[in-house]
Amino acid sequence: MASGIKDKVVVLGMGCSKFGERWDASPADLMVEAFEECLADAGIEKKDIEMGWFGAGIDAYNVGSSALPLSLALRLSNIPVTKVENMCATGTEAFRGAVYAVASGACDIALALGVEKLKDVGYGGLPQRTRGVENDMFWPNLSAPGSFAQLASGYRAKHGLDKTELKRAMAHVSVKSHANGAKNPKAHLRREITEEQAINAPYIAEPIGLYDCCGVSDGSACAIVTTPEIARRLGKTDLVSVKALQLAVSNGDEASFSDWDGSYLKTTRIAAQRAYNEAGIKKPREEISMTEVHDCFSITELVTMEDLQLSDEGQAVRDVLNGDFDAGGRIPCQIDGGLKCFGHPIGASGLRMIYENYLQFQGRAGDRQLPNARLALNHNLGGFPHQNICSISIIGRYE
């Protein structure tokens, strides 16, 4: 019987570049920026790293395929490096590879680094790209906002909400993240906005408006992981450990078979329950101190609160408007600004979330420091509501 990953691996160091429109920074520059911070934080030398996992989401507009870009950028010493890509879950997938390698005993110290260079394409939003030879023949040309906007239509139909009510809650989600992002020096978008601005912004994909969309950013984030024993031996106290790493991937059920109504993410519900089981969490609302969820769009964050069991079904609008997930609320969400304002360099996002957990647990989060943060849940969603990849990591103080 598998015992799960809980407390087998700890974070030795972390780094994160400034996210944003980094016109003058190459992907290698971004990787080095995150890595140097991480290496200094870990207090080891580059040669101590035994294995690497490299995450980048969109090859064609980015660094190219394979693990070479990481090994070349960091001049790693011919160690094994594996490239991973799993859409928006890519960063967490790189982390999972490194954590599993350490947990298995295959190595003592492993590196996970995610990077994305999105601002070289010449236009806003994610790059328009092929979905594969066969899919391109019949899939709609769905953009990311176009696919996630449908969550709003499904949610509204299921719960009998009128458009303005849901839109106001969506606006609250974004206003909160902008307020948080304004306090984060590494965040891409650092200006506060009002509910009126969010509601009145032009539609990108009905009912998603400009301020319902996350930042499309350049950036990199990285982690070095090891065992608790080695970390202690290296003089580390205040350890932060991995409590759960789970992934759920659609199998066509939502898109082709079930009575799924488009109002929730089936994979998130599955991955969340598995993660709670792995971490030994019985009452998530009481035990989880903070969440970093995949707020690619405000509506995604809103329905995710229910999928993670942090709101009752149909009650996310009420809870959001009640401020339950604001900085001072019941369970703060996106305290670093989230994808919304920290930004969303795809391959880096999952690691960026863990970076924020790590800073919070170590009391290094500056103006946005939460009191008594002990356990964090991070959530990524790659793909579309009707077929996607959901990753969940639970990170906490090692006690």
């Binding site: 328009q128 040309n141 176009g146 449908q150 239509s153 066509g252 078979f257």
Partner: protein, 482 residues
């Protein structure tokens, strides 16, 4: 008895106001103002001769058993492919199977009437019924008389001996190399000669000659003709020809210039469908097609003419309209201006022909799968049944789904992604009896879509690969009744 057994019609929903065309162009040619009455039909960006042919063919199949169709003829001068049989695409979209004769007939405004004569003269040698689809997506120069008077449309006829609604009495053709207009090998637009000459030396000489030969051969008095179909973009010419022939003024079938415009090689057949809708048992119908001579065909309506009505028909197609005042959009849809598409529109759209062929049942026929083990319907058809309680391997039989009604589960109007007519509407559609798919919508009017709205499926252009001169087709959902 042998003759016409079924018919169907399709007219694009969009109807551009002629005043809008004149408003944009009368600075250059003031005479256009005199033609600025009514409206003309305009293909949506995702419609062409093939897609309209499929629509008309589907309408015709509401009266015919698809499995009985032994031949499909597609007549048009605006076929999207010069070398790739267009009628094959239409036949596969109509799921007519792989055991039939197909043929494209082109290069003249009487392409459809000539094809029809060939089918009628072949008689019962075609297995079961033969189907003719005439379709035309007419392009013309910006600010031209043709732009004002022409329209897009398609019509279909079934020919056979079961359920005859108009008995074939005979046909005649007068052939002469009268070049009223032409389009050469490397041209995309027509070049026309003087209207008055075309009327006097063309219609008024050629049509009566062919018609009188036929009347004599068939032993029919001209005064008996109850419906006289002569397609022409000259509003008064059909009546002038009728008068010269001795056909009564009441028998002249309206060319619908004011409501759809003249749809080229498709127009004689489209007008014939309107005549069939108006015909009473025993009525004599004369169909004329003009172009490098004249085809004439004679029919007599049978007792079944009133009872055998297609689902939509000419009147239904005419009525299903969306008024349009946007001349700039019309220019854009017809490639008459170089439109900024944004960088998202620059994505390479290579057509991978081997993969396309592998997927042709889905792409062209909208064929899904039905599991033999558990009955689950699914599209696309895959190796394993999607029902998690079943999961059987290779258990799905072909299940054509293009005619199934559906309902919208989720939707959006996407203004970020590239579309020729933004916003791009798409969403998850659930089909009656099972099966669901994330798909494009088309012909959506703002406010007409929401969760639960009923939709029907339509064969449309999915993508142009302008770099290589290819276009891809797939099925899209449209709110029912639109």
């Amino acid at each position: 008895m042998f003759g016409i057994t079924a018919y169907g019609a399709y007219i694009p929903r969009s109807r551009l106001s002629r005043a809008a065309i004149a408003d944009a162009n009368d600075w250059f040619d003031a005479s256009l103002r005199g033609l600025a009455k009514g409206e003309r039909s305009v293909c949506n960006w995702d419609e062409d001769t093939i897609t309209m042919a499929v629509e008309a063919g589907q309408d015709c199949l509401s009266l015919l058993d698809a499995s009985s169709v032994g031949a499909l003829y597609l007549a048009s001068t605006t076929l999207p492919f010069l070398d790739r049989q267009n009628s094959v695409v239409v036949s596969q979209a109509l799921n007519l199977g792989d055991h039939l004769r197909t043929m494209d007939v082109s290069a003249s405004q009487r392409a459809a009437t000539s094809a029809l004569i060939a089918m009628l003269e072949a008689g019962g040698s075609d297995k079961g019924a033969a189907m003719l689809v005439a379709s035309e997506h007419r392009r013309s120069k910006c600010g031209s008389r043709a732009e004002m008077l022409w329209g897009d449309g398609a019509a279909a006829l079934g020919v056979g001996s079961n359920g005859v609604i108009a008995e074939y009495l005979g046909s005649e053709t007068y052939v002469t190399d009268f070049v009223d207009h032409y389009r050469g090998e490397d041209s995309t637009l027509d070049y026309e000669w003087e209207e008055r000459w075309i009327r006097d030396e063309g219609y008024l000489k050629s049509v009566p000659l062919a018609a009188s030969r036929l009347l004599e051969k068939a032993g029919v008095k001209v005064s008996e003709i109850a419906h006289f179909v002569l397609a022409s973009d000259q509003a008064k010419t059909p009546a002038a020809v009728a008068k010269k022939l001795g056909v009564s003024a009441e028998a002249v079938v309206d060319n619908h210039i004011a409501t759809t415009g003249v749809s080229g090689a498709a127009h004689p057949i489209l007008m014939l469908t309107s005549a069939l809708e108006a015909a009473k048992p025993g009525d004599l119908i004369m169909l004329a097609g003009f172009g490098q001579g004249t085809d004439v065909v004679l029919f007599r309506a049978t007792d079944q003419v009133g009872a055998r009505r297609p689902k939509t028909g000419f009147a239904g197609a005419l009525e299903r309209r969306r008024p349009d005042e946007n001349y700039n959009r019309f220019l854009s849809f017809n490639n008459l201006v170089e439109r900024e598409t944004g960088k998202r529109g620059e994505l390479d759209k290579q057509s991978y022909l081997a993969a396309m062929y592998r997927k042709k049942d889905l792409l062209t026929g909208f064929v899904g799968g039905k599991c033999r083990e558990c009955g689950t319907i699914q599209i696309p058809k895959e190796n394993y049944c999607v029902n998690p309680d079943c999961g059987a391997l290779h258990s799905q039989d072909d299940y054509p789904m293009s005619a199934l009604p559906g309902r919208v589960k989720t939707w959006t109007a996407d203004r970020l992604t590239f579309d020729w007519n933004p916003p791009a509407y798409f969403g998850l559609v659930e089909f009656e009896g099972g099966g669901r798919m994330m798909m494009d919508f088309t012909e959506v009017e703002e406010g007409s879509i929401d969760t639960g709205v009923a939709v029907s499926l339509h064969f449309r252009i999915r993508q142009f690969d302008n770099q290589r001169g290819f276009r891809k087709y797939f099925w899209k959902a449209t709110p029912s009744g639109q």
